[in-house]
Amino acid sequence: MAVLNRILPLLPALALTGCYENFSPGVQSEPVLCINAIVTAGNPVEPELSHTWYYTDGSNTPWQNDQNEPDHSVADATVRIYIDGHPMPEGYTAAEGDTIRIVAESRTYGSAEATVTVPHAPAITLEGCTPRATSYGAAGDHPDYAMMDYVMFDLNVELRIDDHAATADYFRFYYEPVSYGTNEHGIEVLSRGSFNYDAEPIFSEHIGVFESVTGSDSWGFTFFSDRQFAGDSYTLRLRLTNISYHAISVDYDERLEHCGFLLTLASVSESYYKWCNYIWQCENGIVGDMSNVGFAPPMPGYSNVSTGAGIVAAQTPSQYYIDLTDFIRSTLASDDSK
């Protein structure tokens, strides 16, 4: 609602006086099959089948106790999966370049199908990695702990992507801290820090001008396309700040010093990109905001399934591990107070 928050002052009379009234529109519609599948290269294909429901029937749907979500499963459906036009062999795991077609049929809800091609893994190269400590300290002669070390630091990473020519490619970046786990205070030894989404403009390419100037940002959204570097290379400038390393241990434990970040850049199918973009547009885009109050057409859910319900998407990740062990050790070693 970021956009609307900025526009509401413009329309105070309208916003303050609007009201809602519950009603039944009296429109009949039939449920259809829904297929969801996020296929990852190297993993088996596991589609989830469900059916759509009339919006106001949602509350009356039986709930699955374990997931606390309504049960819209389909009992009478058959699912067939084809790989490059052939029935999926037993034990199949998705491979780059495979075209996967999922066909489902149900006597109650009809049929549905969707196709996705598993994208090729992106070619990535680490061009630069610059950790910079902002503060640090070590236990020194602490009476109770052999290790009581901390390092606060920033990390600048430059990750180059070499794009496949002649295809429209979509990507998703994410990262995870890798460390021994939690220290004796239950705190992760290595935190995620803050990822500065604004530092890399390509994460904002899906944001329209009006959304940008009204405060919408790309927080949490790291999908992008190769539209600006098709067939060429592009270097992502990734900036993490306020990362904390906290090693607390009664005894010296070398394993706590082994840490780093696992960077993942996945090629994703167009359907995956559009699905996540749809979610962003609903929550932050001008159309999503305006349609909620009747000032823009409503936004139906994006789907690449023939019935309009469900997402069949695929991704192939490439990963790079940044080892920060030496950086942590050298930083702590330079602590004069130790």
Binding site: N22, I286, A313
Partner: protein, 806 residues
Amino acid sequence: MNRVFLIAIFMCAAALAHARGSVTLHAVDKPAAEVFGALMAQTGKNFVYEAGLLDGLRVSVDADSRPLKQVLSEIFRDTDIEYKLKGRDVVLRRRQVPASRRVIEATRGTTGLTASPNELDELVVVSRLETPPVESAELGARKLTAADMRGVPVIMGEPDVAKALQMQAGVADGSEGLAGMYVHGGEADENLWLLDNVPIYQVNHFAGLFSAFNTEAIRYADFFKTSIPAKYDGRLSSVADVRTADGSPDGFGGSARFGLTSGAVCLGGPIGSRTTWMVAARRSWYDLLSAPLLAIANSSSENEKTRFRYAFTDLNAKLTHRFSDKAKAFVSVYAGRDVLKTGSDESDDNGSSGWCDSDRYDFSWGNLVAQAGLYYRFSHRTGAEFTAAYTRYFSTMKRDEKSTEFTQGGSRTSHIVVDTDNDINDWIARADFDTRLTGTARLRYGIKGTVHSFLPARTYRSYDLDDTSMATRDSTTHYRGGEANAYADADWTITPRLRVNAGLQASLFRVDSHTRYGLAPRVSACYRPAPGWAVKAAYTRTNQFVHQLCQSYLALPSDQWIPISGDFKPESADKVALGAVWQPENGAYAITAEAYYKSMHNLIDFRDEYYLLPPLAQWDARLTSGSGTAKGLDITLEKKSGRLTGHIAYSLAWADRTFPEKNGGRTYPARNDNRHTIKILLGWRISSKVRLNAAWTGHSGNRYTLMTQTWQGPQTGAGDNDSFGHASEVPLRAPLNSYRLPFYHRLDLSLDIQRRHGYWTISLFNAYCHMNTIAVGRDEDRYGREVFRKVKLLPIIPSISYTWLF
């Protein structure tokens, strides 16, 4: 027989009136109104008089090239009516009524400076430009005076030309209370708005709550929705040519209006004997009202301050100089601007650490029109209007966000700036000629050249974090182009019963090294089988080379005008219409009926799910082309004089769209596919000082895409923010606009109360507080159950204003 007589008068007038100020007229025992029609044609004077003043008055006059004053004196010699020449107006009144300033003020009203709705018992303004519908060949043409606009009660009591036009048959309004206009199944960007013959692109203030036209500065507006003269082209659905007033040559005068949300002032007068000036300004004072409220709110918190300021301003200025009876020139400027500034300052300081956030959002958008014009009469047959103009629409939006964290070890600052602007600049030169070939034939023709410059968006983004800086500048294509137009339009009264108007406009539009052309033929005919009756037929073709991209139904500064580009073809429309008019000789009533069918081609709209494409992609990628049809019947019953005036309009209409890449290629109803529409506009003169205006609108609900089915989204777990991968409930696509919202109806009232130096206007928008449904939302009720909800907007809104006349 009367018609024959009148036509004969016109023929004589055209042939014999060779000297300005003199008239030639032969009439024996004819209705005075008819005789004045001939006088208007010859002299260019307006006649202003109370309703009923001329009832029963029959005139005999025999004049050859005699001064107008002599002729008028002869006409009124044995009557109780006297006349007074006031500039371009002839004011008529009964002799026993002493000369009062009221009439003078009313006279000013006709020249657009000021008008009091109750100065006279009833004011009838007969403009020389106004042809009774029963006589003209055109269908669907309407002239609105400033007084007409003031007679339409609107939200916040602000007289508005756009909302006055919304009360016409076949014209649908936009979102409730806003100024959007959809004519005969068209879209909001298919209406050509002209200010003194110059296009104006942004016609709204305050997201459409007010139009950009200050009624205080308007003399009249010509509106064409079916028979569009060949002079105009460039939009598919309608033309609204708004004309500003000249200053009064009779002395300084003006008006000042004070309302709850805005105020306006209009001043004018002569400079010497040949020059007049007019300045009109309007400003909202919403910011003045909000400032103290914000100050109170901000005083309650030291760590959080909110900024907000909104204002719009308008300025019209016009200087007119009459060189001679043959030549008159003017220069005028219009500048309109909206400013919105908002943001906040927040901070938290606990001594050892803290943070401080500051964000500012500055928006500014508006129009600038500057022009110079020359009216020149080459002979008694041929006159011309030469115009040189510059029109500009601009929009700038800026976000400036600064965040600082303080710790004992130092501070860290991030600074984000997003600055974007879009604009249109047009340089226009045009020449319009009007030649009276014979007493029954008239030819209008002209040429126009326009240099266009479109910049749909140019954005600068910068991001600074400590020692890291990043800046980008992206710009969509800067379109430069040119447009050339030529037109000819002939109006010929072939026989006393048959009148034909035929014209053609040819256009060349060049942008991006692509030249596109358009031919727009127009034909309309009027056959009068009996006195007071007319049967009409019309064919109109229109072309449109630019279109507006709007993501919402509001008029926002992010809306962009872009030219036809890429593989898209110019939009065009063909419209045929049949109509009938009945109007008695005294003109007190009129009934018009019009049936039309409109076929629209190469329409441009956003694709389905266009918002999923990167916004900086070529425009073409987000747009698609299709077609549409509209058909219907408009019937209007109008009462023009008496204590009760107004009209009742009924429309039966269908409108649909077909886009191969929308709605699965299936035809779907347009949003404003309102099957039945009734509009009642009444003005009741309760007394000489009090007038009640009422406007009731009722129509079948707008079309809406109601999505009733829901599906479960996938579990993707994308990144560190699950919201971008997971959506529990997603609406299933439904056929576009397949649901009709509930019947819409609303009554607006206004009461004008005359005082000694002006008048009060008390308005009630939505008088019986029926909150109409504008959309259907999906939400949960208080028990967490999913429900559909009608989204309703505006309740009753009272307002009051005072207009001071001086």
